[in-house]
Symmetry: C2
Subunit: 215 residues, 2 copies
């Protein structure tokens, strides 16, 4: 086994949905910077990045959010709390933004990217996928979540992804109502408390033979 | 920077959506085993694993699938092709399966897990989320996709996630119609062709200051 395989497998085995965070343990700034970078570098369909990541630092705001997430202690105790936002819809401004960024990063005339803009427009704005755009945007956000959870595990940072919250209340408290983004999923990050009983529980996974089928 | 941070950042920078795979380059079996393991160990809400992963090995089947994915060469040329399947709905059998596996992995009497079953039932079967269960299951599958893409990059395996395919035609060819799973997203894995022009293009990402907001 190569060292890369070994550290990947160890990280994925070590990871679990942390229930009790050590409220005094903070993620070091350089480590956190690497995790922010993993969010920025997450893949998305067409590279459209239909997301934003709110890092909730204000203690009082965390206290206000907590009752709208089944009062889970992770909301206030974890070192870092990220609310993953998804774009509510995709319009021509989104395409323009990506075309401009692409032309700039690759030193191209934007006109050279017209086929790319057309392809996205026909799929996401005029095509059948436009009717499911919230779902499409959510899917992309969950790629970022998967990337973040894996990246954190590799850096020995504990996480707890949280779907058990009220998006409506979060949107209200985070002043997202009427804006282009909505609360999609939440993730707490930090370090497990010494006493978290969940840390010691065996991981439950169906056998590979049931999950992976060859055709 | 720690070695873990360095290799993570290098992997995420190195990764791109590979357009041309080297059709002769195969992922070594032990490396592929590690990637399968990353699928099995992917996190999911409640640990419900509402997914299955079809590894398409049959060359003829790949040829048949290709026209239903915009004729993209990745479908036939990549070393490995995975169709990520999502469960169409969640019923009491799914909960039973998880409770049984959990009781067995953790040496508990299944009765001790009744609260857990109730919580899932109230959310996913009787609750408001039941109306959006396809979306919920898709989201989970995309966590697995994010995990897989990141794991592959860490092992220097190239990937191309593919949303541009016809789920209806894939379901037909993969004989999934009427079954409990549906085609959700596709991912090709292998090694980039020496001549893939996309490999050299600068990565396009919005600035961290636009994507990450502090509150």
């Amino acid at each position: 086994m190569t060292p890369a395989v070994e550290s990947l497998q160890a990280a994925l085995q070590w990871r679990y949905a942390t229930k009790q965070f050590d409220a005094t343990a903070r993620i070091a700034p350089d480590l956190w910077a690497a995790l922010e970078q993993s969010l920025v570098l997450s893949p998305s369909s067409y590279g459209l990045q239909p997301w934003k990541f709110l890092l909730i630092e204000d203690e009082e705001l965390r206290q206000q959010l907590r009752p709208h997430a089944w009062n889970q202690s992770q909301i206030t105790d974890a070192s870092h709390l990220v609310v993953f936002l998804a774009r509510r819809r995709i319009d021509s401004d989104d395409l323009e933004r990506l075309i401009t960024a692409t032309a700039s990063a690759r030193s191209l005339a934007p006109e050279k990217l017209e086929f790319y803009r057309d392809m996205m427009r026909k799929d996401l704005i005029d095509g059948p996928r436009s009717e499911q755009i919230e779902r499409w945007a959510s899917n992309q956000v969950y790629i970022a979540l998967g990337t973040f959870l894996t990246a954190a595990a590799l850096l020995a940072v504990d996480t707890c992804p949280i779907e058990g919250f009220s998006p409506a209340e979060f949107d209200r408290l985070l002043e997202l109502e009427g804006g282009p983004y909505r609360s999609c999923v939440v993730c707490a990050a930090g370090y497990r408390a010494a006493g978290d009983p969940y840390a010691a529980l065996a991981k439950v996974r169906y056998p590979a033979a049931e999950l992976i089928e060859r055709r």
